[in-house]
Symmetry: none
Subunit: 225 residues, 2 copies
DNA sequence: TCGAGGATCAGGGGCGTCCCCGATGGTTCG
DNA sequence: CGAACCATCGGGGACGCCCCTGATCCTCGA
């Protein structure tokens, strides 16, 4: 935890495509965050958000993940690419607790991620901590965020794994991932069921998976279908 | 369209599990709906909603679709089953524009369905029209709602099939479609493997499918994951 | 009150999945 | 040539998937 020393109020820009949600956040911050939070601007889409951040250079941007024009990650990418507001922190505020949303947003540069079930006082506290450089996550998200960044899949590692498959193994893998039974794969490739089993065994071992269902998800995650 | 004659303000109960969103709606209705809308109560889950509707008997219930305790449809079902507030109209207010959410909510008895992208003045107007008996839908939803109720093969057929599943069968179906093994489903739902097998048997028979792989494709085609 | 249907569970069987063990022939490379 | 790797196949086994029959308990409506 950083120290609680602060000079003045934390300046904030609210980015969300729902006007009513912005209004609710504003109302909560103005009552629960009395004197601690100053709302500089609101934005309803990616372009507005970029303009608002560039103009006001807030301490913290409250950023909705699902946003017309490319999503919250797009905002962070384009602001930092434009060299603007390097000291600004981003706190994602989303209804979604899906792993891909969370990880994608953190990869994009957010310093925290809380769900919209948060209460006003908790949000004020989260904003304060993010402004001071802490990372803030909803309790339910904290666990798997750490998992994802402490030794799980890397994009580079994916291609290495794929390269270690032989041509025949890749053919079998594709068909299995599409839901073919071993018997059907065998007929399709004019080989025996036993050969299919052997290839599948190698595929699962090389990709460190344990079932055809995991393989299906693995392949669809990487759009290999 | 009904006439615009009204004696006094329309009484409203707001149901949504996000306190901040309720606050935003309240703020919008109190400024944009000045004198036309009277907010009687708020509720954050199914039980609170039922109690609030029974106690206040509002003209209109603003009802979130995704709600802890069974969802908005559950609120309408239990209020009408309890004989309470027959003259109360329900207006669904949701982030989701998924077909199953919309159709399920309308089937549950809602007189309208608008997304949370709506503005304050539009919401005030929608509440007024629902109170007078009109049906109100966001422009984007209107088209396919009409389709679904005028003999569309696609959505209607899906929904019929889905309707024939019991609640428990749908739970099992969702987990299986996500790749859970029977054993895992059993642990998740605190029932025996044999019961899972029974439910799956019913699911496959009712949906005229023959394996969990077909079920996975069926579900993903209809975005039920 | 009786039947229908839903949720729960058991046993047994056929087949699919995935693993272990093994084997043969083919290639490439040092 | 031998080592390494690949593709091909087999036996056997443990376990998962899916079906069938049959059962109990409960709730709801005719």
């Amino acid at each position: 935890m950083a120290t609680a020393e602060r000079k003045g109020p934390v300046s904030v820009v609210i980015v969300d495509d729902h006007a009513m949600f912005r209004r609710g956040v504003r109302a909560e911050l103005e009552s629960a965050g009395r004197g601690q939070v100053a709302i500089l601007a609101e934005a309803a889409d990616v372009d507005e958000a970029i303009a608002a951040v560039g103009e006001h250079r807030p301490d913290v941007v409250l950023l909705d993940v699902h946003l017309p024009g490319g999503g919250g990650a797009e905002v962070m990418r384009r602001v930092t690419a434009g060299g603007g507001a390097p000291e600004t922190r981003y706190l994602a505020l989303s209804v979604s607790d899906a792993a891909e949303d969370v990880i994608g947003t953190i990869r994009g540069g957010a310093r925290g991620y809380v769900t919209k079930t948060i209460t006003g006082p908790e949000l004020v506290q989260a904003i304060g901590r993010v402004a001071e450089g802490d990372a803030v996550f909803s309790p339910r998200l904290a666990g798997f965020v750490l998992d994802a960044f402490s030794g799980s899949i890397d994009v580079a590692a994916v291609d290495e794994d794929l390269d270690r498959l032989t041509e025949r193994e890749r053919e079998v893998m594709r068909l299995i991932a599409r839901g073919y039974a071993y018997k059907e794969v065998a007929k399709e490739l004019f080989i025996s069921i036993k050969t299919v089993e052997t290839h599948m065994s190698s595929v699962l071992r090389k990709l460190q998976l344990s079932s055809r269902h995991e393989l299906t998800r693995w392949a669809s995650d990487r759009r290999l279908l």
